[in-house]
């Protein structure tokens, strides 16, 4: 068996700081898809409760002690962190680790910048901190988390990592070019 070399989706990519915004890669640990089986909600809730987690409803995130459950669909959530025991029989669990690539976009006006690529309203009033949306980032399917008033985490399929970076970097460059003109 040949020795395979593990490579991250953003190996060698440095954070980009421009227009007061920072675009940076995220290094994810394990990611699990937890898809509830019909009638499995109760058993799943029981397994998650001791961890301080609750299965999130649409647009919700449940977070505790390094574990994060992010809503991704009907009766489905992604778990970031180590898989807890007790979900067998309640949900179908599949390993998504390495299948997704993440970046953070932070800084004042991050929502305005993101709004250039996303058709949903990402202003604070419509997309509060601690929420998640599944939507399109330009032409890519994305999972977008709002981690702060001026902070977003964006995840796309790993195959789209560089495209995602390119699109967001382009936004930062455009905003950076405009800044001196509107000063």
């Amino acid at each position: 068996m040949p020795e395979l070399i593990a490579k991250g989706p953003f190996d060698g990519v440095e954070p980009l700081v421009m227009a007061g915004l920072t675009l940076a890669p995220v290094e994810d640990g394990p990611i699990w898809s937890i898809a509830l089986l019909p009638g499995g909600a109760k058993a799943a809730a029981k397994a998650l409760k001791p961890l301080g987690l609750a299965f999130p409803g649409p647009g919700g995130i449940s977070e505790k002690a390094g574990l994060r459950l992010v809503w991704t669909g009907r009766d489905q959530a992604f778990l970031f962190g180590d898989l807890p025991a007790g979900l067998e029989g309640a949900a179908v669990v599949t390993d998504q680790s390495g299948g997704w690539a993440g970046v953070t976009l932070t800084g004042p006006g991050a929502a305005r910048a993101l709004g250039r690529l996303v058709a949903v309203d990402v202003r604070l009033a419509a997309f509060p901190v601690g929420g998640v949306v599944r939507t399109g980032l330009n032409h890519m399917s994305a999972v977008i988390l709002r981690t702060g008033e001026d902070a977003f985490e964006i995840r796309v399929f790993r195959s789209m990592a560089r495209t995602c970076w390119h699109e967001l970097a382009e936004v930062l460059r455009h905003l950076g070019a405009r800044a001196p003109l509107s000063a």
């Binding site: 019909p38 649409p58 647009g59 991704t72 669909g73 009907r74 949903v120 599944r134 939507t135 399917s141």
Partner: protein, 90 residues
């Protein structure tokens, strides 16, 4: 055009994929006569008014939706999940 996904809320039309008439949900039994299959596969109404069709929330929650809309006024009156409806497979 926007559709209000029951899970995701109001979303741009570009997030959705249009499939066709709601008739696709009513598949005839395997032993049904040819005419039933003919209707199922080929024969569609073309109403001026209310129509119900299937859309897929491709760039969102990946759910199939039944959209009730008016072909005359373009009003969208309801968007429902296909999953969980009465008689649906689980």
């Amino acid at each position: 055009m926007r559709l209000t996904c029951p899970l995701c809320g109001p979303r741009d039309r570009r997030e959705f994929y249009y499939y066709g008439a709601e008739d696709y949900l009513n598949r005839p039994d395997a032993g049904a006569p040819g005419s039933a299959w003919d209707d199922y596969l080929h024969n569609r109404d073309n109403p001026a008014g209310m129509t119900r069709d299937l859309w897929y929330h491709e760039q969102g929650c990946a759910q199939w939706l039944i959209v009730t809309r008016n072909t005359v006024t373009h009003a969208v009156t309801a968007v429902d999940l296909v999953a969980g409806r009465q008689g649906a497979a689980t």
